[in-house]
Amino acid sequence: MQEKEFLSLLDELLELEQGALKGSATLESIEGWNSLAVISFMALVDERFGVSVQPRQIAKCTTVADLVGLLGDRIGAEVRA
């Protein structure tokens, strides 16, 4: 999966317009990024990527690009800010 598809999944998860999220977006600026969204994100990356992410790892993320970084080499390209 490429970064674009991943961001599109995040858009869908947070009910944003497709293409709304950019890697540089800070998590605190995203409406709907709350504790349930965090759990949803964890479920999403577990099911789609087989990656187990812990809440403490997410707590250290400040931007969307940081979230993508949690997937390591499971994502096909670097997220451009």
Partner: protein
């Protein structure tokens, strides 16, 4: 409580509440049929039981239609079952926005479908002994709301309804059907959920339990009470064992 001379089948016996219930039943004098998917962990439970005559059975409960025939074969070799405890279950922390039908089906298949299959099997002639007792595992989440676990909560609410329906249906056959509704107990299943929560969320959930989090042993006492003759006049009941979670 005394289970001397009785044979009790326990699903989910390789860990958590199932394992602890199996241990307690053996300490109360029962022969226990342990059911699980992990041979090594079942053998571990088996070694920890008191008394003799216990056995471990590997079985995948997701094949609900196979359960009656399988239970028939167990009773053919172990004799009629006096009690059945369905402790196997799966938990999925999935907010509704990411709750796909596959997750719902997986949860319902084991938590509810297998329960129905086990009841079907138990009430066959020669499988469940006269005066037999079935205990299902519900949860406080089947009684009061909790965010992020809609599928699990629905399955545990279904267990309450199933318990009452079967209690009525099987009473003429002198089979009692009850369930326990635990709050959070510190089991491997809970550990898996805890890993998906922030420390603050975990602490908030713990604070809801007025007496603190429980142990598998706390729940196993309630299960054994319902299985044993101590509950001979109780059927269709939901025994809440939650350290005060639902008291406020």
């Amino acid at each position: 409580m005394d289970l001397t001379g009785q044979t009790i089948l326990v699903t989910g016996a390789s860990s958590g509440i199932g394992r602890e219930t199996a241990r307690l039943c053996s300490q109360l004098g029962a022969r226990v049929v342990l059911v699980g998917r992990n041979q090594e962990r079942l053998a571990e439970t088996l070694r920890s039981l008191d008394g003799e005559g216990h056995r471990a059975e590997m079985f995948d409960l997701s094949s609900a239609d196979e359960i009656p025939r399988w239970l028939k074969s167990i009773s053919a070799s172990s004799g009629p079952l006096h009690g059945l405890v369905h402790s196997a279950g799966i938990h999925r922390l999935r907010p509704v926005r990411v709750l796909g039908s596959r997750t719902v089906e997986d949860v319902m298949r084991i938590n509810v479908g297998a329960a129905i299959g086990l009841a079907r099997g138990f009430c066959q002639r020669g499988v469940g002994a006269a005066g037999g007792s079935i205990v299902f595992l519900s949860s406080v989440t089947g009684l009061v709301g909790q965010a992020g676990i809609a599928a699990y909560a629905a399955s545990k609410g279904a267990i309450v309804a199933l318990t009452r329906a079967l209690a009525v249906e099987l009473a003429p056959e002198r089979i009692r059907v009850n369930c326990v509704a635990p709050g959070v107990v510190t089991t491997p299943l809970w550990q898996g959920v805890l890993e998906m929560l922030t420390p603050e969320q975990g602490a908030a959930l713990e604070a809801m339990h007025l007496l603190g989090l429980g142990s598998a042993r706390d729940v196993s006492y309630a299960i054994a009470f319902l299985i044993a003759g101590t509950a001979r006049w109780i059927t269709g009941a939901v025994l809440v064992v939650d350290g005060g979670y639902t008291a406020h």
